[in-house]
Amino acid sequence: MSAETLVQVLYLVSTALFILSLKWMSDPETARKGVFSGVGAMTLAIAGTLTGVLATGGTHYWWILGAFALGAAVGYPLAQVPLTAVPQRTALSHAFGGLAAGLVGTAKFFLYYGQKNEAALAPFIVVALVAEILLGFLTFTGSILAAGKLQEVKWIPQRPVTYPLQNVSNLALFALALALGVALVLHPLAPWAPWAFGGIIILSLAFGVLLIIPIGGADMPTVISILNAYAGLSAVAMGFVLNNKLLITAGALDGSSGLILSVIMCKAMNRSFFNVLFGAFGQTSTAGAEGEAKAYKADTTESAAQVMEQADLVVIVPGYGMAVAQAQHKVREVYDLLKKKGVTVKFAIHPVAGRMPGHMNVLLAEAEIPYDDLVEMDEINGDMPQADVVLVIGANDVVNPAARSDKSSPIYGMPIIDADKARAVYAIKRSKAPGFAGIDNELYFLDKTFMLFGDAKGVVGELARKLAGESGH
């Protein structure tokens, strides 16, 4: 078997393992097998590439080994972050992925240009190269900024940044990048080609920033998914450039995953892609301030505990507030205590709760809450009228009934968890200020709603103590 065939066979097996890896993610029971298969696939991919490089007389092996070692040394601690920081870590690793693709594309272009290699700079290749660096560098800066927003880094504005003619100027810049791309495709070896290429790089880096600054925290799940898709697509483009089928397949798997997650997130917010990327949220909600100031009814954890232990069914709705306060372990205590008293406890998980897809599930799993009690929104909503108590922990928009009834609300049409249909509602809230984007939540003003003000971790902890105390241990 020639080295060439061996490489292709290794790539083939690697591709199959990547597909199986994702297939096994369909069920928590087999998911870990998926990780192992992914590791196997990646190992084969690297082995295959090294085989090919060796056979064609490559060099710099010590340097390559060094780059691997350094990458592993940085990657290992990145895998040990607390689970509440997983959205930032994910965004950061999208940034690394984008940067890698962008750099390889850049290297390839200047290599071919330096060789005056007209055949290698065929129109199709140049199109792929432009797509690769555009997506790669855009993902790089966009994801860095997204990670910064999620980490709440000081010099990155948290609130959506908007300015007049934002979309128009973005589109104009995009048109400019496209024009440079077309010029490159037509004249890849022109003396000005490196400048045009450099121009596209700079514009791509700028796009990443411009696309993310108008986006607010609640849109992060969608944005992270879109960046995920871009990182995959840039790998696909690299595959086209290098004529490498493994890159194309693996990149396409990643791209389709990002695409599906983005679609799910968009549906869960009743917004279109276009709307997320081009319509800054927070801006439309200024009209909500009119009318009399409504009063909250605050209550004590003691009476909340009393009501909850009398209940048959308690539904807990977690949100980003739970993640921020790291309250998941205290929530687990409440869950255990209520179960011990014979109360059925379920968690209602909204698809966009938190800052990335599936965020709440991971946090609750970390607190060792069995995943059969984590129920998706569509499933739990039928049971809501039977719920005696709904406990809202740091969630806001996902339980706001205005989404169903108030056409003027910016979240109108978004599917929500029907917390207002339960017999009683307890909502834990950090402060009396309205939530994200300043949208008032009608749920909090219903007759059956009682507020528990304070830090989620503190309040839930107190709740746990009250529940434990009354059983008299």
């Binding site: 065939t5 292709q8 083939l12 591709t15 597909i19 994702l22 993610m25 369909s26 069920d27 928590p28 998911a31 870990r32 992914g38 991919a45 690297i46 295959g48 090919g52 490089v53 060796l54 064609t56 490559g58 060099t59 710099h60 340097w63 390559i64 780059a67 990458g71 940085v74 990657g75 290992y76 990145l78 895998a79 997983v86 994910t90 690793s93 992925g97 693709a101 750099l103 055949a119 790998a235 086209f240 004529n243 490498n244 089928k245 493994l246 890159l247 194309i248 397949t249 396409a252 798997l253 990643d254 791209g255 389709s256 995953s257 897809p357 599936g358 599930n361 991971v362 069995p370 995943y371």
Partner: protein, 118 residues
């Protein structure tokens, strides 16, 4: 079907920078089929696991390491080209290591009622 497409057009250009006959349609075919497979497989991923799914695909997208190795190992390439490739290897390896490790770490936490699952 996919396997056939993959093998039929076995690409000559894995090592070095030289391009063999460029098979555009073959590449587009593979892309289309892989996208369909991806869409179908991922649609069935449980919503519970969307965060681990994303970190797993993160690691998978680090397949860019293949291109990075090819660029870095090229003989007689100018030094800055090698440098770009090495940085790309570093970035991708970071994703491979952290992506797979954190996915596994998260998945270990998902337990069923009664705690039977591994």
């Amino acid at each position: 079907m996919l396997l056939m497409t993959l093998t039929q057009h076995a690409a000559p250009a894995t090592g070095g920078g030289g391009h063999g006959e460029l098979d555009v349609m073959g590449a587009v075919f593979v892309f289309m089929l892989a996208t369909f497979i991806g869409l179908m497989v991922i649609q069935r991923v449980s919503r519970l696991l969307h965060t681990p799914l994303m970190s797993l695909t993160n690691a998978i997208s680090a397949i860019a390491v293949v291109g990075a190795i090819i660029v870095s190992a090229g003989k007689d390439y100018p030094g800055y080209i090698t440098m770009l490739g090495l940085v790309a290897i570093f970035c991708s390896t970071t994703n491979i290591v952290s992506g797979f490790l954190i996915t596994d770490r998260m998945l270990k936490m998902f337990k069923k009622q009664g705690g039977g699952a591994k």
